[in-house]
């Protein structure tokens, strides 16, 4: 297995809104830019299934790179390799990964901004490496990413971390049953063929995502019987009134609520138990004083979002209050490493887009244009703060797991065993909590909420990878930049 050695002036990790915006700005200003993302599509989770604007051909296989793209191949690793790399799971913009075919029915309902940005990205000249999971940073200015076929050695001068967020899951009896999924996850998969039509779905947990997901699932033909928000009505109302400052958001919200007429949205209640034989069949909810059951085929349950901090932490970026610390130009505590979007605070698409642009402009040292965006960014930071106030988790949620509930579902570690430990590290050592294949990504945020343990121990590989991929760093460590030695493979 031969590694691909590539050099770029700017490498962006994550092809969600923040990463796309950052890459566009940097590439349009003449930099050689690579974007790495671990999924087969562009747009991150939030824009999954959205088609770019006018320029996407109906049959993407026949498309050729735009003239701009072909002429933009100035840096090493550009241009000539493109066609062969498409087969290896990587591609230039304009290849078929832009178009998850099932999404074509989306049409006019798709957010205009998403299509515009994806369209702009196609034309900007940045290279996209999809299906590529960054798993190590064995030397300064170097990342390793595993693709289905090989390992990419990405050398960068400036790095932008746009690693996004994931859903927070809290353990409760039955949460490991098949059919209990994250709301965002279920919605995202439903855009790629996961069957939801005619299925009875209860959406529960916390955050504005619940309503958006209920809306999306309903449009896909699901029968959404309830949206259960843990936050109290008064907090959610205050948040809703606050949306008056953000007309676009308000319109979105009104649209969603209108389409969800007939679907009850209950605040101040949460799931306490899921039951079923081989998969979930019903969920019991509680409002603190009474509990009741709802039959369902899927329970879509997630408690707002948590940032993906593994790569920033591996690189040594300072983290404060659960988010990556950045200065006004999105620069982290590590020189030449920038961070934008959800890892700096859960603020949504618009916030991510502005931060991504600021980071992109910072990499090209266009400080004035970056400063022009500060006011806009401040407004979205205000929105971000109101989000975290409105959807803060209620303390009752610390009581929904019972002693024999699995906290760590990779290793099947029960609450009673984790509870005996005094720290995350001790729990790892004594119970294997967080030591399974997800490497604590699922149970980490849960134990942080349950016990206040900081999940800050990160080491490579950041994801489980093939043994052959692990052999690569050995060569690189000895001679990071000079040799063209192929990896030995295992």
């Amino acid at each position: 297995m031969a590694n691909q050695r590539l050099e770029f002036e700017v490498v962006v990790v994550g092809a969600g809104p923040a990463g796309i915006a950052a890459a566009c700005v940097a590439a349009e200003n003449g930099r050689t830019v690579a974007v790495v993302d671990n999924s087969p599509w562009l747009g991150g989770q939030i824009w999954r299934g959205v088609q770019p604007g006018e320029s996407l051909p109906v049959a993407p296989e026949t498309s050729s790179p735009s003239p701009r793209q072909q002429s933009a191949g100035r840096g090493p690793g550009r241009g000539a390799q493109t066609q062969s790399q498409t087969r290896a799971g990587t591609a230039s913009c304009g290849d078929s990964l832009l178009s998850p075919a099932l999404s074509s029915r989306g049409g006019e309902g798709e957010p205009r901004a998403a299509r515009d940005w994806l369209d702009r990205f196609q034309k900007c000249g940045a290279r996209i490496f999809s299906n590529a999971t960054v798993f190590a940073a064995p030397a300064p200015h170097l990342l390793l990413a595993e693709t289905p076929d090989d390992v990419l050695e990405l050398n960068w001068k400036k790095l932008i971390l746009a690693t996004g967020a994931r859903e927070r899951f809290l353990p409760f009896p039955g949460w490991t049953l098949p059919g209990v999924l994250g709301p965002g996850g279920l919605h995202a998969m439903s855009k790629s063929g996961w069957p939801v039509a005619e299925k009875r779905v209860v959406v529960a947990g916390s955050g504005p995502l619940l309503l958006a997901v209920a809306d999306g699932l309903k449009q896909e033909g699901a029968r959404v019987s309830l949206v259960a928000e843990q936050a109290n009505w008064s907090r959610v109302m205050r948040f809703g009134v606050g949306l008056l400052r953000y007309p676009g958001k308000l319109l979105q919200g009104v649209g969603v609520k209108t389409r969800l007429l007939g679907v009850p949205y209950r605040c101040g209640c949460w799931p306490v138990k899921a039951e079923g034989f081989a998969q979930v069949e019903s969920v019991t909810l509680s409002d603190g004083s009474r509990s009741w059951s709802e039959d369902c085929d899927y329970l879509a349950c997630g408690f707002h979002l948590v940032p993906n901090l593994e790569l920033p932490r591996l690189l040594g970026c300072a983290v404060a209050n659960g988010f990556v610390s950045v200065n006004e130009f999105q620069l982290t505590s590590v020189p030449e490493v920038f961070c934008a979007g959800e890892p700096t605070g859960i603020g949504g698409v618009e916030c991510a887009l502005v931060e991504g642009q600021v980071a992109g402009l910072a990499t090209v040292e266009d400080w004035d244009r970056a400063k022009d965006l500060f006011r806009q960014r401040a407004a979205w930071h205000h929105f971000r703060a109101s989000l975290s106030r409105a959807f803060a988790l209620r303390p009752e949620l610390r009581q929904i797991a019972t002693r024999d509930t699995y906290v760590c579902r990779c290793e099947d570690v029960r609450l009673e065993n984790v509870k005996r430990c005094e720290s995350w590290r001790a729990a790892k050592l004594h119970t294997r909590c967080g030591m399974g294949s997800c490497q604590g990504r699922t149970c980490g945020p849960a134990v942080e909420f349950l016990f206040g343990w900081d999940n800050n121990s990160v080491r490579p590989p950041l994801f489980p990878v093939r043994l052959a991929s692990l052999s690569a760093p050995c060569n690189i460590n000895k001679n990071p930049l000079e040799t063209e030695r192929p990896s030995s493979g295992v």
Binding site: L102, W194, A278, D412, T442
Partner: protein, 82 residues
């Protein structure tokens, strides 16, 4: 572009629209348990975005593939471990 792709899930043919995830093909085949946990309990996808590994299946002989991040291809052979 084809209307449908055909792949096999646990030896049975399943037809899905192009652009479908392997996870979706498994679900469409009526399989809810993608693998079993270390205590032999049934598990299916949780996060749907490549984080939790609960959707892991064997694809064309390659064990431990995240079916929520893998798109279906014609003739693919998928094996669950539920």
């Amino acid at each position: 572009m084809r209307d449908h792709l055909t792949l096999s899930v646990n030896g049975k043919p399943v037809s899905v629209p192009p652009g479908s995830l392997v996870a979706a093909a498994v679900a469409r085949a009526g399989v809810s348990s993608f693998h079993t946990s270390v205590h032999h309990e049934p598990r299916g996808p949780l996060c749907g975005m490549g984080v939790c590994f609960e959707c892991s299946v064997t694809i064309n002989g390659q064990a431990y593939c995240r079916s929520c991040l893998t798109l279906c291809e014609e003739g693919m052979e998928v094996q669950t471990h539920g």
